[in-house]
């Protein structure tokens, strides 16, 4: 299948008549959501449904000496009070390790804590009642006797000999360590004309999905089946885990995911309270609902990005980068999160640092340690914002040190666009990237020279504006190399089943899921184009393990690239099946026919031969009129998994233009640009909006978001009034551009686009602030979030 230009913007379309590929088709589910008629799990009510609330440890580390539930049990509406040991009879614990992360270790984690709570917020007792309010009333009456234990909160000292070991059976607090060395690092630093060192500190933050985590579990004792309605990104993964830990067969478990109020990686993990809800349903033989309230979300939704990276770059006078070196330390809470582990983020940092550049000399150390804080795990753009900020922070510091323009520095060092395929210094493999084309496009879009002139002019008036840049790479379309090889039952392949219904409409069932990014629109576009039907006659079904092909779901920017390709192949297959029926009716040859715009036509002339509803009518209701021995097959299923490359890397570059108020330390974002290459663009509007939303999430990390813990492991700002998120008033308009380098691993050629914005935005904002403050002789800011306090400190004003 050849790729042809479809739009003047050089977005590609696959060469089919009436193709929807490369067009901004509106999403099919918007009207429902805009009318308040979505079906979020938090909206769901079932007959006899009970509500669970959890008593949570107020201490970061404490022995649970006694739980006296007598008063709670007498509270009106209470159905059951269940402790950890009681629930452990129904559900087994889990350990978050993967075999391909060598040496990673963790301790068994229970649905409800047994004997000991290891972070502030860990559930220690469940109360099930007729309403959530009544369950909370009863929790107030629980008498829980805690013995506070010493806490491990500082990652820097977590490995010291005198520090308490949180899980004594593991021997130490080291979860995972990775060392990597490539090229001749010491020699390269010696040969450098300048070496720049900096310590980058990233604030722990979290996803703050607008709809908190929500689950309704219903164990039907008569059917011996569990139905779980869950806001999740990976229904089949959860089906496997619910079955495994409740000692059921997978076919006894159905996971249903309709509308999800935001995910961003938060909803792709195993949460103890959700596992407990499922187990409680089994125990009580009735539907049980759990919806985290916002305060619970802050202390139980996974956190991310709490890294300290000591980093070093060597550079020659002409701007050539000679070496990168990093020492990354991250504290991930008391357990490695199941089943994806909490080692992946640091592992990604090692993989991605230096990624856009030719430099072959690279040394990395990453250590992941346990501590008594909420758990950390994979959140949108896992590891990318850290690696990009470290790499691009170093590149701009080095450029400033040797007095070279930061874009010239990149032109000199970025992997040349004709240099592919190739491998990065960390061992990652690139099929085809376009760093230089992206950079030149960005320069043109933003009017670089003019902005530099404006910046210089305004400095004379004591207005301090800065420009910051970041070239980046993004992991998308993961193969089995991500999780499958490590032993996790997380599908890398995905499937699509297409059916021609009895009126000639196309029904698509897919294993990938809709989290609001537009998966269902993309699947409809792809299926309609491959099959040859108007998109209005396509209906997409996702998020139901009983009714969709087995698949991985939505994470690591895989839905369009993997789920889309499966739908493309299934569309082609169903077209052939339908043409076989049509040919049989018309006494023609399938290859002489095609399906275009919902009609079977002569392939050569485009002349209409028969409608799809007529083909369906004959196949379903008058098969007796078809030739003997001919069986119509109006369903086709195809699967796809990337095989040629472990990941389809994408690339891009961002820029930020901002103004720093040097009296208050406030940063005003003026403009933001991103040029991104995600291969074939199936729906330009959806891609652009993914990037815009991702950028703003990255800006949150750069300027506002921070889970602030004290030394006792208490989260000090776990609510939406104190934890700042980006709101409309402070956000800039963002200009998005594209370069298109399709992957040859699939016919569609689409790579992922979901995380590019978040990957690059923190780096560019940090770099732009430093650029703004440079003439003032301020200290370099390498800390996120760059709050007004951080800025004023850098200026020496506080």
């Amino acid at each position: 299948m050849k790729i042809a230009d479809d739009l003047p913007s050089a977005l590609t379309a696959l060469d089919r008549p009436n193709s929807y590929i490369g067009r901004s088709v509106p999403r099919p589910n918007l009207a429902r959501l805009m009318q308040g008629r979505g079906q979020y799990v938090s909206d769901l009510a079932l007959a006899r449904m009970a509500h669970v609330a959890f008593a949570r440890s107020p201490h970061a580390h404490a022995r649970i000496k006694k739980i006296d539930a007598a008063a709670a049990k007498k509270t009106p509406g209470v159905i059951a009070v269940v402790t950890g040991p009681e629930l452990a009879k129904v559900i087994t614990p889990w350990v978050g390790v993967l075999s391909h992360l060598k040496g990673i270790k963790s301790a068994p984690q229970h649905a409800i804590a047994i004997d000991r709570a290891c972070w502030q917020g860990e559930a220690v007792c469940a109360v099930v009642a007729k309403s959530r309010a009544e369950a909370e009333d009863a929790i107030d009456l629980l008498d829980i006797d805690y013995e506070e234990l010493p806490v491990v909160t500082d990652a820097e000292t977590a490995l010291d000999a005198k520090t308490l070991v949180i899980h004594p059976e593991l021997g130490d607090n080291l979860t995972f360590e990775r060392k990597h060395e490539a090229g001749e690092v010491d020699k390269a630093f010696k040969e450098a004309d300048a070496v720049v060192e900096a310590t980058f500190v990233f604030g722990r933050h979290t996803g703050v999905t607008n709809e908190p985590r929500a689950i309704v579990a219903y164990w039907n004792e008569g059917e011996q089946r569990l139905t779980v309605y869950q806001g999740t990104q990976a229904p089949h993964m959860m089906q496997n885990l619910f079955a495994k830990h409740l000692s059921l067969a997978e076919h006894q478990v159905r996971v249903v995911t309709k509308d999800v109020g935001g995910s961003f990686g938060i909803k792709v993990h195993t949460y103890a309270d959700e596992m407990a809800t499922v187990a409680l349903s089994k125990l009580l033989k009735r539907p049980v609902k759990f919806v985290a309230d916002r305060l619970e979300s802050f202390i139980t939704d996974i956190h991310a990005r709490d890294h300290r990276v000591k980093a070093k770059i060597g550079v020659k006078k002409d701007g050539t980068i000679t070496a990168f070196e990093i020492d990354d330390l991250t504290g991930i809470g008391p357990y490695s999160v199941y089943p994806r582990t909490s080692g992946i983020e640091a592992n990604q940092v090692v993989n991605l640092v230096g990624g856009p550049y030719k430099c072959p000399n690279y040394r990395a150390l990453a250590r992941v340690v346990f501590q008594n804080k909420n758990v950390m795990c994979q959140y949108r753009a896992v590891g990318h914002p850290i690696a990009t900020a470290v790499t691009e922070g170093l590149v701009e510091l080095a450029a400033a040190k040797i007095g070279i323009d930061p874009l010239e520095m990149r032109r000199k060092n970025l992997i040349p666009d004709d240099g592919y395929p190739c491998a990065g210094a960390s061992g990652i493999k690139f099929e085809k990237l376009s760093h230089h084309a992206a950079l030149e496009k960005l320069v043109k879009m933003m009017g670089y020279e003019k902005l530099r002139a404006e910046q210089a002019e305004l400095r004379k008036k004591k207005i301090y504006r800065g420009l910051g840049f970041a070239s980046f790479i993004e992991v998308t379309n993961p193969s089995a190399a991500f999780y499958g090889v490590g032993g996790a039952k997380i599908s890398a392949q995905d499937g699509a089943t297409l059916r021609l219904d009895a009126q000639g409409a196309l029904i698509v069932h897919s294993g990938v899921t809709e989290q609001g990014q537009g998966t269902e629109a993309v699947l409809a576009q792809v299926a309609a184009s491959a099959f040859g039907i108007a998109i209005e006659r396509v209906r997409v079904v996702t998020g139901d393990t009983d009714n969709t092909p087995y698949g991985g779901g939505t994470w690591a920017s895989r839905a369009a690239g993997i789920g889309g390709e499966a739908a493309w192949q299934a569309g082609k297959a169903l077209r052939q099946n339908v043409l076989a029926v049509a040919a049989s009716i018309l006494q023609s040859e399938p290859k002489a026919l095609d399906i275009r715009n919902g009609l079977v036509v002569d392939a050569d002339t485009g002349r209409e031969r028969i409608t799809l509803d007529e083909v369906a009518r004959v196949a379903y209701f008058r098969p007796d009129t078809l030739p003997p021995g001919f069986q119509a097959e109006l369903v086709a299923t195809r699967h796809y998994v990337p095989r040629a490359w472990p990941f389809a890397f994408t690339n891009g570059i961002q820029a930020s233009y901002l103004e720093v108020d040097i009296d208050t330390g406030f940063v005003k974002l003026l403009r933001h640009w991103c040029v991104e290459d995600c291969g074939t663009v199936i729906n330009p509007q959806l891609v652009d909006e993914q990037i815009r939303g991702g950028i703003v999430q990255g800006i949150g990390a750069a300027l506002y978001e921070h889970c602030i813990y004290d030394e006792r492991g208490q989260l000090l700002n776990g609510n939406m009034a104190d934890y700042l998120v980006p709101m409309a008033g402070e956000m800039p308009d963002m200009e998005i551009g594209h370069v298109v380098s399709p992957t040859a691993d699939s016919e569609l050629g689409a790579k992922g686009a979901g995380e590019a914005g978040t990957a690059g935005a923190p780096a560019v904002v940090m770099n732009a602030i430093n650029d703004a403050l440079r003439p003032l002789g301020a200290k370099i800011i390498t800390e996120m979030p760059a709050t007004p306090g951080v800025v004023l400190k850098a200026l020496g004003r506080v």
Binding site: S24, P26, R27, N29, L30, A31, L33, M34, Q35, G36, R37, G38, Y40, S42, D43, A45, A133, G207, V208, T209, N210, E211, P212, D259, V260, G261, G262, S263, F264, V291, D293, R294, Q515, G516, Q517, G518, Q685, L686, E689, R692, G693, G694, I695, V696, Q697, N719, M720, A721, V725, P726, M727, A728, G729, E730, M731, D733, M734, G757
Partner: protein
């Protein structure tokens, strides 16, 4: 906890219910009336997902108690959608893909309509300021601002 009888109109329909004094308006709408279009995001008045109208004024459904609405006229996204009052705004949101997960959208639409209904031709900055009490994690806000701006232009300042 003793219940109080309240009478009010919700989306033009007369409603009489017994509610606990602690019941918030948004929980009342969602759990007692099944109007789940108003969402619960933070339950402390920051995120705006629970935005509804009481006697024509936009309020946070999580900061108003149901008992306070005795005798009031309450409108939710379901009612405003069915009346067609914000059809142009909804069309603009669809055209611009100004929603992703859609969880903030009912509140965002009602907040935007409050600005539009005030008349005049607010610019982007004013639009951003007006919706800055409504949290959206998905879009980055630009598409929402674009959509509202398009309706500002189309309505031409009419109230």
């Amino acid at each position: 906890m003793s219940a109080h009888d309240i009478s009010l109109t919700v989306n033009g329909e007369a409603v009489r219910e017994a509610v606990e004094p602690r019941r918030t308006l948004v929980d009342f709408l969602r759990e007692d009336l099944g109007l789940t279009g108003s969402h619960v995001g933070c339950e402390h008045g920051v995120c705006g997902a629970c935005t509804v109208r009481v006697d024509g004024a936009v309020v946070r459904g999580c900061l108003v108690l149901a008992v306070q609405c005795d005798g009031a006229r309450v409108e939710t996204i379901e009612g405003v959608s069915d009346s067609g009052a914000i059809a142009d705004l909804q069309n603009a949101f669809e055209k611009r893909n100004a929603l992703q997960c859609g969880y903030c959208t009912p509140g965002m639409l009602l907040a935007a309509e409050e600005l539009l209904a005030a008349g005049g031709t607010p610019g982007r900055e004013k639009i951003r300021e007006h919706i800055s009490g409504n949290y959206c994690r998905c879009t980055g806000y630009e598409a929402i601002v674009d959509a509202i701006e398009a309706v500002v232009q189309a309505r031409g300042g009419r109230k």
